[in-house]
Amino acid sequence: MKRALFITLNEVKLYLQDKGDLAFGLLLPILTFALMYGAFGGQTLFKATASIVDEDKGAYSQQLIKSIDSVDGISVDVMSAKEADTKLDRSDLLMVLFIPAGFSDNLTAGGQAELVFKQRGNGGTEGQILASIIRGEAENINQEFQARHLVAANLAGTGISDAAIVPMVQDYLTQERQQPAVSVSQVTTGGKPDFVNQYLPGIVTMYVLFALSLSSTTIVEERRRGTLERLLTTRLSIGELFLGKFLSNIARGFVQTLILLILAYAVFQMFTPLSFLAAMVITLLFTAAAGAIGLIVAAISHTERAASWVGVVVTMFMTMMGGTFFTIAKGSVLDTLSKISLNTYANRAYRTIISSGGSLGQAWQPLLVLAGVVIVGLIISRMVFKPVAGK
């Protein structure tokens, strides 16, 4: 056991000697965090541009465009039908609002007017939100016309002219909008960065796996240097060698991820002291699991290049299948495949702590899987290791 710790210390010493590797290892989490802060750290209000084709060019289409443009966070890009179709074809746009010719005339005549959303697929998440906002604005116009026609119909024969009815209805509607019967208000609770809560677990898990791809070369490096064979002629056992390497991989991955978590704690205030400790425990276990997988790669690889490539492929597979880049629909083929990715379990544990405010006890299932991977990974790596490559 003592000799395993010397192996770990030697690895750490070598890591500290390689200034390039050290700078990369320590600066990368800070850089990742800076990118996260740039992406999520400022205003979190929904922002989008509504693409609109105005084939009507009448008073009411202009009124609608103006009202959409006045919504917070929404800007308007009016374009020709040809341009809109081209952009939809190329998927430059996923959704465009078409205001057909005759829209204003139909409304003025008391008839029905129609708005058309042209979209690629489901229009994308942003498109769906925009469509919902535009429907709300159209509904306002709709209500205004309905109120005006109902009042005019009720006052028919009383001698009161339309010219008197329209401004009065308009005044009432304006008052109603300023003091609605049902008002909606926003109350901010907790930290502001919801997106960080959602995405940080994925970024952290992806990060630990990058450490895996780096650590998968450790045994091959010893082989290349010739020190592996020399070590195997000392009193160091193969088990101690693997344990030493394993501990150094954990230390390295853990420190890098810790930097990310500490920055997230300090800047986004997204942890309580207890949840921060819980996140550290998950990180430690996940790094250990990733380290054990890295050790299998290291044990079976004959060259550094092979180890690096296998490490990268395993990392990418686990990241993709672990739901880091996109949400995986339950019951799908990807959902089944995701069960062999470490990220799935680490993400689940992190989300229990970070996004749901749960405890470690509630994350016992994914933690148990990670612990199992550590044990099995260490056993397999020891079994597949050959002192002399290929022999």
Binding site: R225, G226, T227, E229, L232, T233, T234, R235
Partner: protein, 249 residues
Amino acid sequence: MAEAFVVVKEIHKSFKDFKAVNGVSFTINKGEIFGLLGPNGAGKTTTIRMMATVLPADSGDIIIGGHSVKNDAEAVRSIIGVCPQDLALYEDLSALDNMVFFGRMVGLSGEESRAQAKKNLELMGLEDRAKGKVSKFSGGMKRRINLAIALMGEPELLFLDEPTVGIDPQSRNHIFENIQNLEKKGLTVLYTTHYMEEADRLCSRVAIMDGGQIIALDTPRNLKSQLGSPDKVTLEDVFLKLTGRSLRD
């Protein structure tokens, strides 16, 4: 009669269909410098790897200092030192750090490790460069560090696998002197080299291997006398006569 410190008994090793070592047996006496010679692919490295406990033999056994490599590899490792042909060093660490680290690996305490490292660095004439990074050393200095590390733990049997490859005559001579001094102190050495004059100068007996077998084993003088006057025939003549002149992979 000399006391046998190493007994290699009928060892075999195959890699798939290739028989790398095919029934090799020899003994090395205590305090002897024993040469193991042979062309590339003769089976020398595989034999040394089996003796140094890195590779298990398919059959047969090796006894070193009374310990069986097959049954008690741990005890064997505690009395051997290996100086591999390729430099086996951590180039980013200092000479001292390298030596102390390997000292810990052979079971020395921190204090013992530092004391032995200092002593061996002096032996190799590198005491002034103890804290220098190995990557900044010349080829000859690296070779000497490579040998100094093998001496950590004061082994009873030293494996020297081509310890003088690619170095200047001064470093080479320094290494020879050290090996001869170690012999005087009773250290047993297994020496492999492609330089026949080295084997002739240092080894009391040499074994010549080819095709996974030992094809000759005797003192350099006796081997040379098989071809003529030992003063006129070189060991290289004997080697080429026994192993042929065809090129090897």
